[in-house]
């Protein structure tokens, strides 16, 4: 076993020891040290710690101070940020795609359009990278709710889609060309009623 394997094995054994021996007895300690002689001393060390903690339980609990709590919270929010960055790096081209977000929310272009009550073509343009930011406030709110994700994730997916836009249906008479338009332009030229357009342009 190499060092990494030994460390992983040690973690496994000690983790199980903590799970099974929350208040280790002498007999349990003897059992475990005989079963895992290679980790005997660490088992004893962890047994001593558990008994120390049990003794401490009888004392009034020490409360963490505000600074300690705040540092922990900041680390937790950083961990989210780092996990998002790692997820982005893991996907080929960066951010989670709209396809992935939709799959995560168990929906589709027609499903999403229905849920938001918006023209399907607008959702399709966004998916295909033909829509330029910024998105309307209502549209962004609707998307984060329906796709159960954050504004940052939508923006990242939009950016990613716009980097590699897909063609619309080609016309036979002309070479296909990708046209990227602003969200507002796309809404204005959609087939929705004027009232719905005003709504999606946040103008009512």
């Amino acid at each position: 076993m190499n060092n990494e394997n030994i460390a992983a094995r040690r973690d496994e054994v000690l983790f199980e020891f903590h799970r099974q021996c929350q208040r280790p007895t002498a007999e349990q300690i003897v059992d475990w040290t005989e079963r895992y002689p290679e980790f005997a001393d660490e088992i004893r060390e962890h047994a001593a710690a558990r008994l120390d903690w049990i003794a401490m339980e009888r004392l009034p609990a020490m409360e963490p101070d505000e600074a300690l709590i705040a540092r922990g919270r900041s680390r937790a929010l950083n961990a989210i940020h780092n996990a998002q960055a790692a997820a982005r790096a893991q996907s080929d081209e960066g951010a989670a795609t709209f396809q992935a977000l939709m799959q995560g929310a168990d929906t589709s272009v027609p499903g999403l359009a229905r849920e938001l009550d918006i023209d399907r073509g607008i959702v399709a343009d966004m998916m295909a990278g033909r829509m330029l930011p910024p998105l309307g406030r209502r549209f962004m709110d609707g998307l984060t709710g329906a796709l159960r994700t954050s504004v940052a994730a939508i923006e990242a997916a939009l950016h990613r889609a716009s980097q590699a836009p897909r063609l619309g249906h080609a016309k036979a008479t002309r070479a296909p060309k990708i046209i990227q338009r602003s969200y507002a332009d796309i809404v204005r030229s959609s087939g929705m009623s004027d009232e719905r357009k005003r709504y999606w342009l946040d103008k009512d």
Binding site: F15, A26, T33, A48, L59, L68, A76, N82, R148
Partner: protein, 225 residues
């Protein structure tokens, strides 16, 4: 998976269920393993109105657990140890593929215990490499009960003994003492669970350790008289 207190049989990834639990302020009633599983399965791109409260709940509970177990008699009140252990655990919460990430959703407390011991060891080694006045064994001032607990009259004596025991670095001596206090025999031909076998030394050695600890406690308690 337990559903105690959450009053629902919905899967852990049901985000509406978490919205409800958060809005009811009922996260305390949900086992930590379940919250970790939710964070991992919802993923880092989940609605931050759900993900952030879940993560903040985990960090606060983790900080409280670590604070409960780390003496303020360590350097910097034990905060360096807590920060180190906290960082290891909180990062793993969002790494579902890691060994720590998997273990935290099986038994949160046991995995935290493991990482806490690692942090204590790392800080001790750190202190040995860079000895500073306050972590140098012999020059360390004798802690008072107030160092850990404030002036709680009833607990004072007990807290003082515990603070003194925490100063004994050799875990085998502490283990021998703890078992001795629970009435475990030093040696025996009849029972398997003896202090000698549990600590892996001779009965004679155990007796020497117990005498040493007793003498240490007596001398320090005498200081206070």
């Amino acid at each position: 998976m337990t559903e105690e207190g959450s009053g629902s049989s919905l899967p852990v990834t049901n985000i509406d269920r978490w919205r409800r639990i958060i809005s009811e302020g009922a996260l305390d009633s949900v086992p930590m393993e379940e919250i970790v599983a939710a964070v991992q399965d919802l993923g880092p791109y989940a609605d931050p109105r759900v993900l952030n409260p879940l993560m903040l709940h985990i960090t606060d509970a983790l900080t409280a657990l670590l604070r409960k177990r780390v003496w303020r008699t360590h350097s910097n009140d034990g905060n360096d140890i807590i920060d180190r252990a906290h960082a290891a655990v909180i990062d793993a919460v969002l790494q579902p593929q890691s060994a720590d990430g998997k273990a935290l959703r099986e038994c949160f407390e046991a995995r935290v215990a493991l990482r806490l011991k690692d942090a204590i060891r790392a800080e001790r080694e750190n202190a040995r490499r860079h000895p500073s006045a306050d972590e140098d064994g012999d020059s360390r001032p004798l802690p008072t009960p107030e160092a850990g607990y404030g002036s709680h009259v009833v607990m004072e004596e007990h807290a003082h003994v515990e603070t003194l025991l925490a100063m004994i670095e050799d875990h085998r001596k502490r283990l021998a003492w703890r078992l001795h206090m629970e009435g475990v025999p030093i040696e025996s031909k009849k029972v398997k669970g003896t202090i000698a076998k549990a600590t892996g030394v001779s009965g004679r050695q155990v007796q020497d350790w117990l005498d040493e600890v007793k003498e240490f406690l007596k001398s320090k308690m005498g200081d206070r008289a």
